[in-house]
């Protein structure tokens, strides 16, 4: 039992170190030797736990996937109008990113590197929000509540704006926006978005 626990601990520490290195340098920028060196072990130890660098990378991603954001609370809580649910979903997503900004770096790196595994992983993560927007706006559109011409584009634009805020706060740490708290930025984003889809115009 003690030995098994030790193996699990070793695996967890490999994953933690690998995540930080992949986030800093991308998949191609990190070698197994470097991860092993950082851990103070031989590469052979790493290969005892993971068959390849690719397998290790996938495990880093799937470990995060297991902690996937749950939006059930956002859907079931009151009030249930589109804007209130979107605000709650955004809050859940932002909290999840704030808790582990390394994944934001990995997302950026993987977009440049074109890793299929990573790209589809991050796409799935964003789709919860964009699909919700597209689905709900199509409904509101058919009920003539909004005048948005392309719910699909609206989802993409929202993703882009939200991602830019997160990049600004967690990656570039742009001094121009340093004094605006994250929460204020998100509130402002939702306000602008709601005006843009013409929610109050009819």
């Amino acid at each position: 039992m003690a030995k098994r626990l030790k193996a699990a601990e070793r695996k967890a520490s490999i994953l933690a170190v690998a995540k930080v290195l992949f986030a800093d340098k991308g998949y191609h920028g990190v070698s197994v030797d470097e991860i092993a060196k950082r851990l103070g072990v031989s590469p052979a130890i790493l290969y005892q736990h993971f068959l390849s660098k690719e397998a290790l990378y996938e495990e880093v991603l799937s470990e995060n996937s297991a902690k996937r954001e749950s939006y059930i609370e956002a859907i079931l809580s009151e009030p249930t109008d589109f804007v209130s649910v979107l605000k709650r979903m955004t809050k859940i997503y932002v909290e999840s990113i704030s808790g582990d900004p390394d994944f934001l770096r990995m997302e950026l790196m993987s977009a440049l590197e074109g890793s299929q595994t990573a790209t589809s992983f991050f796409e799935r993560r964003w789709r919860s929000i964009t699909d919700y927007i597209e689905y709900s706006l199509n409904e509101l559109k058919s009920d003539h509540v909004i005048i948005c011409s392309s719910p699909k584009m609206a989802g993409l634009m929202y993703q882009g704006m939200l991602r830019e805020i997160l990049y600004t706060k967690y990656i570039t740490e742009d001094y121009r926006y340093k004094d605006i708290p994250l929460k204020t930025m998100i509130d402002e984003l939702v306000k602008m978005f709601v005006r843009a889809i013409g929610k109050d115009t009819k």
Partner: protein
């Protein structure tokens, strides 16, 4: 076994859309009636467990069938 009163095809939809649509469908059912949902998102297994726990509806069954997940939920 209760008969299925309504079916919801949530295949191809990502979380949280299957939950959102199930919530709407269930609101149209009478107490005791069963909604059958078919989904393809693997996360939906956990999601529908939590959904039933939080809404008090009964998850009668949750099975995997040929790459799809089928849930029978009875309205409380």
């Amino acid at each position: 076994m209760s008969e299925v009163a309504q079916e919801l095809d949530a295949r191809g939809l990502n979380c949280p859309l299957p939950i959102l649509r199930a919530k709407k469908s269930i609101s149209n059912l009478a107490s005791g009636e069963v909604l059958r949902i078919t989904a393809t998102d693997p996360g939906s297994v956990k999601d529908f467990e939590s959904f039933c726990k939080q809404t008090g509806n009964a998850l009668l069954s949750s099975i995997e069938d040929n790459g799809a997940f089928v849930f029978d939920i009875q309205k409380s």
